[in-house]
């Protein structure tokens, strides 16, 4: 009970912190929308009217409180740019981003775990060194370089020319696969080096534990040792990493990929909102991301209990 209360307070403080910082940065310092809205040769009254509608004439704290209240009551408003309801925009773009990022995210982690296990099992041998060397190589290549190279190699006449160069005309499964292929591969290549290295370090540590010697002393094969004992004991850090990277991958990762390939997902919408000062959209994205973090934290705690009997 006390535990739940502490979590709730912490979550609330986190959301307040994130919204406050984003409010200061994106709303207080953000671009002024007045003149894009009022049109040419507006009278002073018209300008004042628009500023009032946008809330610009309110004092700082009042505007922040309004923002937080709107957020907690889920009154997200409408985009300044298009007039579309923010909830509509999110309902349209979030699924696109998820469909775009999920395959690469899952594959990148699964492959990282498999390679990490393979390396930890052959610790110090050439296979381990090869995997580690490839990880460092992967970590040294820029996201943008990977995206450009894969696009040229897979989607242009200079390479294999297999997939669409950009865009997102998804109507059915084959079209989905053809549009998602290059972004997925990019995401896997970008994250694989980091993932492999992270997971290898965890597995090496777990493989050095006493109970691993016990398993081996009772005839467990290296495969059983790694995939059963080491993997299950490593689930807590694995879950932590996977869970906490979800919001970042979905927003930050999709922002890059969507900007590059011109895909109408939430990352692109959020980025456009920043550059154009579309505050209702921004407020919603940032606030909901913070809320997602809190929910994820709770879900992560629950998952810990599921995988580790020692977590009370």
């Amino acid at each position: 009970m006390l535990y739940a209360l502490r979590k709730a307070v912490y979550g609330l403080l986190l959301i307040l912190g994130v919204t406050f910082i984003s409010f200061v940065l994106m709303v207080w310092f953000g671009p002024d929308q007045t003149y894009t809205l009022v049109g040419k040769n507006a009278s002073a009254e018209q300008i004042a009217e628009v500023r009032h509608q946008l809330g610009y004439d309110q004092p700082f704290m009042q505007r922040y409180l309004d923002y937080v209240t709107d957020l907690f009551t889920l009154r997200l408003g409408s985009s300044n740019a298009s007039g579309e309801q923010v909830s509509r925009i999110l309902a349209r773009t979030v699924p696109v981003s998820l469909a775009l990022m999920l395959p690469g995210f899952v594959l990148g982690n699964l492959l990282g775990i498999a390679l990490g296990l393979a390396a930890a099992r052959r610790r110090g041998q050439w296979a381990d060194r090869l995997i580690s060397a490839l990880s460092v190589t992967g970590m040294s290549i820029s996201f943008l370089v990977i995206v450009i190279a894969l696009q040229v190699l897979l989607s242009t006449p200079y390479g294999l020319n297999l997939f669409p160069v950009r865009g997102w005309q998804v109507t059915d499964l084959p079209s989905y696969l053809s549009y998602v292929a290059v972004p997925t591969l990019s995401l896997v290549l970008v994250t694989l080096g980091y993932n492999t290295r992270f997971y290898r370090a965890i597995f090496v540590e777990e493989a050095a534990r006493d109970h691993i010697r016990t398993a081996r002393a009772f005839g467990a094969s290296p495969t059983v040792v790694m995939w059963k004992h080491v993997l299950k004991n490593s689930l807590v850090p694995i879950i932590t990493r996977v869970m906490f990277s979800i919001p970042l991958v979905v927003i930050s990762g999709s922002l890059l990929i969507e900007s590059y390939f011109g895909i109408p997902g939430v990352g692109k919408v959020a980025f456009d909102a920043i550059t154009s000062g579309d505050q209702p959209v921004l407020k919603a994205v940032v606030g909901l991301t913070a809320a997602a973090f809190v929910l994820i934290q709770i879900a992560t705690d629950l998952l810990y209990r599921l995988v580790d009997p020692r977590v009370a």
Partner: protein
């Protein structure tokens, strides 16, 4: 110092780490030569035709404006070091400071506040944060530096906090407290110097992260504002490669890769040298 010699000895026996050091050293020399005005000064002169192929006049060819790609790639070494050094040093120092405070006053309100700030910064999507900072600072060139420093310190802070909490219970620190030395002196003189192994490794990791982030930000139009960088060259190349002009892309990506690889190898070697137990695993 003894530890220094041991670490140097370890580094010497690590061919990959040594290679990394050499690569980073070479790039540093290039950066200094650019600073001194010896090379790379003609990066903005449009003295060629558009998209010339590599030749004796323009070793790596030219870009759409007829600018020499070799000059631009060389000048970008300086840009990379400026960004990398500023961000790595500042974010590491900030992380050391906040981490040390949090660790020293662990479980007090100071610690709580710093942890809260770290949690908040870690939960704002990074590129949105940078974009917002960039706009808040009205397109100033150092907006991206500020954004990176403000977010990169959290990892260093967490590690230093844990280390300081460990050091706090060690005899030499207890002794210093018993004889009544002020907290600030103990922290600065006895505690922080013992976190140097974390700081060096984190700084080299932050350097890599800063350069990689610059590339993305420059592509998004939020990075380098005046001057040239590998990120800007890559951003330029996104259109060129579709038309079959690869010079910009190859020059920027290969140099970027070499420097990042050098730093990553160096960071690994440092980590191993500071923590031999971990290295032998």
């Amino acid at each position: 110092m003894n530890a220094e010699r041991r670490i140097w000895g370890q580094l010497r026996d690590d061919p990959a780490g040594l290679a990394g050091l050499v690569v980073v050293g070479l790039f540093l020399l290039v950066a200094m030569a650019v600073w001194l005005g010896l090379i790379g000064q003609d990066w903005s002169a449009a003295d060629g035709a558009r998209w010339e192929t590599p030749g004796p006049d323009h070793w790596f060819g030219t870009n759409i404006l007829g600018q020499d790609i070799f000059e631009r790639a060389i000048y970008s070494v300086r840009t990379a070091f400026e960004i990398g050094l500023v961000v790595a040093v500042s974010s590491t120092l900030l992380g050391a400071l906040l981490g040390a405070l949090a660790g020293w006053y662990s479980h007090s309100w100071v610690d709580g506040a710093i942890l809260w700030l770290k949690g908040v910064l870690d939960s704002i999507p990074f590129y949105l944060f940078v974009a917002a900072v960039a706009f808040a600072l009205q397109g100033k060139g150092w907006a991206m530096h500020v954004a990176m420093i403000a977010t990169f310190w959290t990892t260093t802070g967490r590690l230093v906090r844990a280390e300081v909490m460990k050091l706090k219970t060690r005899e030499f620190v207890l002794a210093a407290r018993t004889i009544g030395l002020p907290d600030a002196l103990i922290l600065g003189r006895h505690v922080l110097p013992n976190t140097i192994h974390i700081l060096l490794v984190q700084a080299s990791i932050a350097f890599v992260a800063a350069i990689k982030t610059e590339v993305i930000l420059s592509f998004l139009g939020l990075g380098v504002q005046d001057g040239v960088s590998w990120g800007l060259m890559l951003a330029e190349s996104t259109q060129e490669v579709l038309a079959g002009h690869f010079s910009n892309f190859l020059a920027a990506s290969l140099m970027l890769f070499a420097l990042l690889m050098g730093f990553n190898l160096l960071a690994d070697a440092l980590q191993d040298a500071f923590d031999p137990k971990q290295a032998s695993q």
